[in-house]
């Protein structure tokens, strides 16, 4: 398995866990009787973002160090697969903008706007990494 594919798997798992952790925290508080509007969501959200990002950064640093030793970094196939993943991630982010703007225009609570941004970011990372894994497993579209 290529190092970049490993990073994609780390991205899928850590982003999935981070998003699940945030939903779990909010649900626990809701069950505890704290309404969504009264919840202090910023710190839990930042903590969950850290849960999502730290493993990805660690994996990238680890593979970067390994490749430096081996003088064997990403090649043209890795870069092409990464480009497909970036395109997918960008499209998900763009698609997230429409509901976000609608929520802002309609005066939705800050919590829901922040949650939608968080969900959009997490989903875009998962979809992008999923496309990359698909590229490594099933192949890349031809010339």
């Amino acid at each position: 398995m290529a190092d970049e594919e490993r990073i994609s798997w780390v991205t899928v798992v850590s982003c999935g866990l981070g998003m699940l952790a945030f939903v779990g925290l909010v649900l626990m508080r809701l069950i505890g009787g704290t309404a969504v509007a009264e919840q202090n969501y910023s710190m839990p959200m930042i903590a969950c973002m850290a849960v999502m990002m730290v493993p990805i950064l660690a994996a990238k640093i680890w593979t970067g160090t390994r490749n430096q030793d081996k003088e064997d970094g990403p090649d043209e196939r890795d870069r092409e697969i990464a480009r497909h993943g970036d395109q997918a991630r960008y499209q998900v982010l763009l698609a997230t903008c429409v509901p976000l703007l609608s929520m802002a225009f309609s005066g939705a609570e800050h919590f829901w706007i922040a949650a939608a941004v968080f969900a959009g970011l997490g989903t875009s990372f998962i979809v992008g990494a999923g496309v990359q894994i698909g590229g490594y497993r099933r192949g890349v579209p031809a010339w």
């Binding site: 290529a2 090649d75 043209e76 196939r77 192949g139 890349v140 031809a142």
Partner: protein, 79 residues
Amino acid sequence: MVNRGRLGNSIRGLRATAGGMTQAELGAMVGVTRQTIIAIEQGKYSPSLETAFLIAGALKHPLTEVFTYEYATPLGAGN
């Protein structure tokens, strides 16, 4: 309409005739990873034209012997 076909190759056989060159050795010669050579051999990745030429050069065979292209429909049949 684009006559999209399938890119084939005979890298595996030519490696064997080139003294049993490994995928890693070929990859090192052309500047790609072993996984990329595997993906090219399995038809899961179409290399860039430059890499295709480098592979052909490393195997000491003309490009057209290393890579083949099967058109979806015969050339000239309404294309």
